[in-house]
Subunit: 119 residues, 4 copies
């Protein structure tokens, strides 16, 4: 198992917190972190400025990333999924689904002519 997922699992077990970690609560935990992240980038429309604010607030960004990883690890662990395995499988699927020659410079929004909306 991914070594950080393993530590997070242990953290939860030592505190007997699995009783609180209903998948719905964990999903909403991820949602809250996404919502907090929004505060760093909200309303700004220029991608360069968005990038700049993220770099200026890198510690806060890192915290949010870590927190999402945390809840994701617990969610995966709650049904015995190794987060590394899940990542590996999705990478394999996406490499097959989106061959470089067909998808270079093209996005996947089918409303805008993109191919395969599943991304």
């Amino acid at each position: 198992m991914n070594q950080y997922q393993e530590k997070i699992k242990k953290f939860s077990e030592e505190r007997n917190w699995n009783q609180f970690h209903n998948p719905k609560d964990l999903l909403l935990g991820i949602v809250e972190e996404v919502g907090e992240f929004r505060n760093i980038v909200k309303w700004e429309q220029d991608p360069k400025v968005i990038r700049k604010i993220m770099l200026e607030n890198i510690e806060e960004v890192k915290d949010n990333i870590g927190d999402i990883f945390w809840f994701l690890s617990l969610l995966a662990g709650s049904c015995g999924i190794d987060i590394d395995e899940a990542a590996k499988e999705v990478i394999g699927q996406n490499e097959k689904r989106f061959p470089i020659e067909k998808t270079k410079n093209k996005h996947t929004n089918t409303k805008l002519g993109g191919h395969d909306g599943k991304y």
Copy 2:
């Protein structure tokens, strides 16, 4: 850098997809995966049944976990954050913040007497 994050980064670069990977789009990508996950567990109130449905739909669950990890990796990578570093830091912080002896069997919902709502 986390080896799967590295591969996902390469995938995006080879297709020149960084132009589409605005942080807001990546955040909304995570939101969509959370929403899809909801379909597996929705409306059921018994935690045991919820666990059972998740195990019965383990491939779909794994896909969702992998997809969230995917968007999270791109988000982290877009400002040079290693997802493993972010995980390590949050684990360190939470271990300090929630000492076992003080938090065992107690959750962090301050509305219900929990200590430290930041979880």
Copy 3:
């Protein structure tokens, strides 16, 4: 147009804030409010206690509801949709889709034998 949506539209126009109200930002605004709401109900598993905490924090709940309505109104208004019209249509569709005699006491989680997962 729904009278509150109308006022929110005017509020945004008077401040010339439509330039910030990209649909992606508005969607993430809703996400943040959902995330804040989570703090009121998180980790608690007993539906009766969840209901009790919501009533004890009714002003905060009302704020969150109002804020979600706010962003939803702006989102609808950005492409000329009247929120009342959208509500009316969905009510009509759901009444057809879920006849009382077929759906009473049955939920719509198809993983658990529910009919029509689109809810």
Copy 4:
């Protein structure tokens, strides 16, 4: 009570669906609709094109708006909140919090010099 909220309440009661409408499930319902909405606007960076796609997919957009309103109505109703009251209060608060002369053309991202991040 808002007339559409009233009808949605009746819909749920007639089917005895309140047993499924745990606030956490309703919040995740909103999340799923936000995620679906994302599919219409994803990856596109030009606000004018985003607006164009929304107009070209207006029925789908209206459906998503209606569905979010639906879940929001049930959530509000579950603790006796009238969605119109909640809207009215937030409008009053925001008018006080953001006087036109001080906020015209200025957004509320405090990371970018905005005043009052609570928006």
